[in-house]
């Protein structure tokens, strides 16, 4: 495809309709490169006799204006609105890297020009993978506001936050308030557990908020919530830890239970460098042997 490039006043271009002002990469342009004209042309879309619309280059135009440059190269393309959006996305070329503000702007453009039928085809250019862009946008829009803020800030992924759509708003708000104290993976764990309490367990909002607050007081909210969600498993883990503390602490012998206490066998691990150390380990194992009924009760 060949485009003819013309020079157009920046002020005139900035008066164009803003329906394609979609991108805000935040990177900015180097002024020296702007003065040297080392930048791509602004992309203009003309559908019919109407004035052309800037479909790509809004960030560039703002930088040019700030740098006092009065004209910009512009290339005009005649196509339909879907073609114009595709062109804009291809020139921007940041598939999979758009922030939620940009994704929502792209969604608004699709709605404005009624491009829903082309949305699936445009999705890889936006999300960097196949799927449904509009469904993702609808999921985002269906989130309680506190979770939208987290997703928009990139501190929570949309899939995990999607579970939050079913949370009472007050629970989502408490979670969002405290989310800054958690790592990304902790947020996912905590939200997953909160979802289970609220939706699967049908616990009321006040009770779940109280649990969340108690969990955050412990310093390890995911572990505390997990203990509340899985009290029987937690009790087995506590008993096992207690056994190890009582009989093996400081002996150099490590005892392992089967994962989730599912299985028939425990196993021990130790190393020794002298006869004395070996005797010490064996004595520890004797203590385990004498008390092993306690262990087998865990399985």
């Amino acid at each position: 495809m060949a485009f003819e490039t013309t020079s157009v006043p920046v002020a005139e271009l900035l008066c164009s309709p803003r329906s394609f002002d979609l991108f805000s990469s935040g990177v900015g342009y180097d002024e020296s490169l702007l003065y040297a004209r080392m930048h791509p042309p602004v992309a203009l879309w003309r559908e019919d006799v109407k004035e052309p619309t800037v479909v790509w280059g809004w960030e560039l135009l703002r930088s040019l204006k700030a740098a006092g440059i009065i004209a910009a190269p512009a290339a005009e393309v005649v196509t339909d609105a879907g073609g114009a959006l595709e062109l804009a996305l291809r020139v921007e070329s940041r598939a999979g890297q758009y922030g939620w503000g940009e994704i929502l702007a792209i969604g608004a453009c699709i709605r404005h020009y009624r491009l829903h039928e082309r949305a699936a085809e445009l999705t890889p250019l936006v999300l960097g993978r196949p799927g449904s862009l509009m469904q993702a946008i609808e999921r985002f829009e269906g989130l309680p506001e506190p979770l939208r803020v987290l997703v928009r800030a990139g501190t929570l992924d949309l899939k995990t936050a999607g579970r939050g759509a079913a949370l009472p708003t007050e629970v989502a708000a408490v979670f969002a308030e405290r989310a800054a104290d958690l790592t990304f993976s902790q947020r996912r764990m905590v939200l997953g557990l909160v979802y289970e309490f609220c939706v699967m367990g049908q616990r009321d909002a006040d009770e779940v908020i109280a649990m969340l607050n108690r969990a955050f007081e412990t310093g390890d909210p995911p572990a505390a919530l997990r203990a509340m969600r899985y009290p029987r498993l937690h009790e087995l883990e506590q008993r096992f830890r207690g056994f190890c503390r009582q009989h093996l602490y400081g002996t150099g012998v490590t005892l392992h239970a089967p994962p989730q206490f599912e299985g028939t066998a425990f196993w021990v691990q130790f190393q020794f460098e002298s006869k004395f150390q070996l005797a010490k380990r064996i004595a520890a194992l004797r203590a385990v042997e004498h008390n092993c009924d306690e262990l087998f009760q865990l399985l």
Binding site: M200, Q202, Y230, R232, L236, Q260, E262, G263, L299
Partner: protein
């Protein structure tokens, strides 16, 4: 359930692939659905998208390997059941059904030709002299939900009647048995009923027959000369589960124990994918942990307690009937059956040799 009015209400479309258009079972089903015939397609993919749902039946030729092993589950003991998929899919709507997470074709598929199944099972029986060959049609669909329409089970029952080592099991959550009551020689055929307490059926098995109807059907088939089997699977720990299961098992006292071929017990289990795919269920809020096969199950210690309760209650009600566990770990088997009165089923569990097709 009165089956023909049920079918006419439940199923709106009936397709058949050209290859089986003239098959007697297809003609029979069309007639019973009060249709002139099935709509013909070259392949199931030709069914219009709007009809690719569970209100559509599709009759197809039996393709591929007609008999396979139950896939079992890694790290768990498999009962070496053989499966023949006459009917794929069902509409009984059980909330825990694993098929919700992996079936990618919504219409109910009927593999219409029973001959390849009969030939394959006979070959397996010949390759395993002196061994019981247990084969069932209820692995990926209900054995009897569609059977009054197509009448395929009768063909299998009659074909295996003269195969003393073959135990054909037809497993159902319906009471659709009347169409097989007049088979003159049932051989070793077993009609099996999946059971759960009525309280659970109401919540989790919405379109299945009421338990009382299933039990009445069990009495009818036993009176007609069949052996019966009962599958308590999935056992779900919810509400007053002990009282519910005890009351259900008490209702089996009317069954003559010698007519009970076996009872299986299986604990509720599901993949994380299924949990995410279905609307939230209250029973899923219990404590489930991943097992060796990746499925979520109750803690091992608690499964053992539940199985022991079920085993003890069954033994009190029915005496010495063969009981086995479905997809359970060796550790659980050991804990549950240590010192048990239940009849041993060990010989059932040795794998059968499956001859290569054509041998």
């Amino acid at each position: 359930m009165s089956c023909f009015s049920y079918y006419r209400r439940r199923f709106l479309h009936f397709y058949a692939e050209h290859e089986v258009a003239e098959h007697p079972a297809v003609r029979r089903a069309a007639q019973r659905l009060a249709l002139r015939g099935a709509k013909l397609v070259t392949a199931r993919e030709q069914i219009p998208k709007a009809h690719r749902n569970d209100r559509t039946l599709v009759a197809v030729p039996t393709r591929g390997s007609p008999v396979g092993r139950c896939p079992g589950s890694r790290g768990h003991i498999c009962c070496n059941y053989l499966t023949a998929d006459l009917y794929a899919g069902c509409t009984l709507g059980c909330s825990y059904c694993i098929m919700q997470s992996y079936r990618n074709f919504a219409p109910l598929v009927v593999n219409i030709d029973t001959y390849p199944i009969i030939a394959a099972v006979r070959a397996i029986a010949r390759a395993n002299p002196g061994r019981r060959v247990r084969v069932g049609t209820g692995q990926i669909g209900d054995s009897l939900q569609l059977d009054p329409l197509f009448g395929l089970s009768r063909e299998l029952i009659e074909a295996f009647a003269d195969e003393p080592s073959v135990e054909l099991e037809l497993k159902t959550k319906t009471d659709f048995v009347d169409h097989v009551l007049d088979v003159s020689n049932v051989g070793n055929a077993i009609i099996a009923f999946s059971l759960n307490p009525p309280e659970l059926v109401a919540q989790e098995e919405p379109e299945t027959a009421p338990v009382a109807d299933r039990l009445a059907a069990a009495e009818r088939v036993a009176a007609a000369g069949y052996r019966v089997a009962f599958h308590f699977d999935p056992i779900i720990r919810v509400g007053e589960w002990q009282a519910w299961y005890r009351a259900l098992i008490e209702r089996l006292r009317t069954m003559p124990p010698l007519r009970i071929a076996w009872v299986s017990l299986g604990m509720v289990r599901f993949t994380p994918a299924l949990r995410d795919a279905v609307p939230p269920r209250r029973f899923m809020f219990d404590e489930f942990v991943p097992s060796r096969d990746g499925k979520l199950r109750y803690l091992q210690r608690e499964r053992v307690e539940i199985y022991r309760f079920m085993r003890g209650t069954l033994e009190q009600a029915l005496g010495r009937v063969p009981i086995y566990l479905c997809m359970e770990s060796p550790a659980v088997w050991r804990h549950v059956f240590a010192g048990a009165r239940s009849a041993p089923v060990g010989s059932l569990l040795a794998p059968l040799r499956l001859p290569q097709s054509g041998s």
